[in-house]
Amino acid sequence: MADKPIQGEKRMFMTGNEVCAYAALAANVDVMYGYPITPQNEIMHYWTRLAPKHNRTFLQTEDEISAGFTTCGGVMSGKRCFTATAGPGNTLMQEAMSMAEMMRIPAVFIIQQRGGPSTATVIYSQQEVTMTCFGANGEGLRVVYSTSSHQELFDYTIKSFNVAWKYRFPTFVLGDGYQAKMRESVTIYDPEARGIQMVDTYPLVGLPGMPGVDRDPAHLRNTYNTEEELYEVVKDLVDAYEKMAPEIVEHSTMECDDADVVILCHGIVSRAAIEAVRNLRAAGVKAGFFRPITLRPFAKDALRPIAEKAKKLLIVESSQGQFAKIVTDALYGLTTPMETIFKPGLGITSDEIVNKVKAMI
């Protein structure tokens, strides 16, 4: 057997894109398919440098539609495959993602959010939340991890492959341009050294034996003839998703127990929020913080009692309320007053949050 690409553990200082490439390697990914778009490019750049040394492959496709669909094809062949994209590329890839939802294709997508709408900026935003969680014609039957640090990019990229293959729903690592491009310290590791067993992959087509003789042929489809037939299919998909949800839903909290103001945010904005809570507590203000790690499924049951108990809520995000829509949907019926900081495509500092919370109390 070939040497493991990462032996044991290693402390590194690198960009988030590099982290993703290393994580895919550590997760034993076979193939990456991709199309260039900033700020995701370096995932491909590092992958194309690392992969051949470990007998892994890469295909640069003609566009993101093709990158999404080739990934689906590779996954249906029983290989651990992924792709990465951003912004307008995420838009084009929605079509393949919806096929993955319908056909339970365990493909992994890394999204490094950039500014929107349209071409916008290549830098940063949290404006791909709605699209990544609920894009295309479908019901949002996806698993979406919103990461906030390089360590999480590494951990959750590996986890994504396992969740995808265990539950067979398309799984997303939702990062952003800041996480993609900035350098920070991270511990990369061989999953096995941490007791993480990679979930086995298996082919959905190209099975052994003569179809029709030794076994039935795999006839995989996404099109149906009647409303009733489709309804049964989608109901089964939703049931499977809801059964999975409590097993994988994740969130983190800080100082929520006695908080007057609970700050709600996700992804890299959580770092500003944590800093803000520390500063506010030091100044005697009872602030707390709630962060969903999975945006889909959403930690509704964990959030509701916290939100009910808080005097006020503050939603902070680098988009015009895409995250707030998910939150308010989860909190329907509660009357806790809510304020917001919406900064589409702009980074948010802890000072802004501190000032806002102080103004709220």
């Binding site: 249906m76 495959c81 087509v205």
Partner: protein, 254 residues
């Protein structure tokens, strides 16, 4: 059901009996083309290695036609899905089957780029000169002057261009190791041979294989049997020349 094979209509061994009769309209070209393909698969003895992909369009009705592992994909996206399968499992024999709309309109960038990369897959386009499944709209292949739902006064090349010549285009952008041909449902013996050569080209690991098959859509053409045949044999071939455009030299022992 009795297993009286002698009494049953002759169908390729790799067709799945349980899903017959197939779902195409009477007189449709898809059934004939897929029969030729099935015969080619049988004669090469590759049924257990084939992964068959079909598009959206009437080709989707073949999703359970073969006793082969099959994937029905999205409109135009069968080429990349089969590319992905082949890249991940080079030991499989991958066939992407689609209509002229799927191949030359919505999926044209995939066809051009799969051909340019010399992907080791077989792409088959059933050319029935219009969009069959959606009710007979103009396709890139619609003949000049031909009436369709979206060219009710006849296709005007001045405003909508000339019919796409798929094999000619693919031949122009592929290396000599590619196999490129245009066959027709009117000559199934020849079409079967083309499919066999195209599949052999993939088996040999040479390069891209592409076969366009002239096909009939009597339902949307609103033609009877005689008119349908006349159109396929006389009208379509005026524009679309049947024959091989590229055939890599045979390997020894073949």
């Amino acid at each position: 059901m009795t297993v009286a094979t002698v009494l049953e209509p002759k169908m390729p061994k790799c067709w799945r009996q349980e899903t017959k009769p197939h779902k195409f309209c009477p007189g449709c070209g898809h059934g004939d083309i897929l029969k030729a393909l099935g015969t080619a698969i049988d004669e090469l003895g590759i049924q257990d290695r084939v992964v068959f992909g079909c598009d959206i369009g009437c080709s989707l009705l073949s999703w359970d036609l073969f006793n082969c592992d099959s994937i029905q994909t999205h409109h135009g996206r069968t080429t990349p899905v089969m590319t992905g399968v082949k890249r991940a499992r080079p030991d499989r024999i991958c066939i992407a089957y689609m209509g002229d709309g799927g191949g030359y309109a919505i999926g044209s960038q995939h066809l051009v780029n799969a051909a340019s990369r010399n992907e080791k897959i077989l792409v088959i386009v059933a050319n029935n000169v219009q969009y069959g499944m959606t009710g007979g709209q103009m396709a890139p292949t619609t003949l000049p002057g031909m009436k369709t739902e979206t060219s009710p006064y006849g296709r005007d090349p001045e405003s909508t261009g000339n019919p796409t010549l798929g094999p000619e285009m693919v031949a122009a952008i592929t290396p000599d190791s590619a196999y490129v041909a245009r066959g027709t449902m009117a000559n199934l013996r020849q079409l079967t041979q083309m499919f066999k050569k195209a599949l052999q080209n993939q088996i040999d690991g040479n390069g891209f294989s592409f076969v366009e098959a002239l096909s009939a859509c009597p339902t949307n053409w609103r033609t009877n049997a005689a008119k349908t045949w006349e159109f396929v044999e006389k009208e379509m071939t005026k524009y679309f020349k049947v024959g091989e455009l590229k055939a890599p030299a045979k390997k020894e022992g073949q």
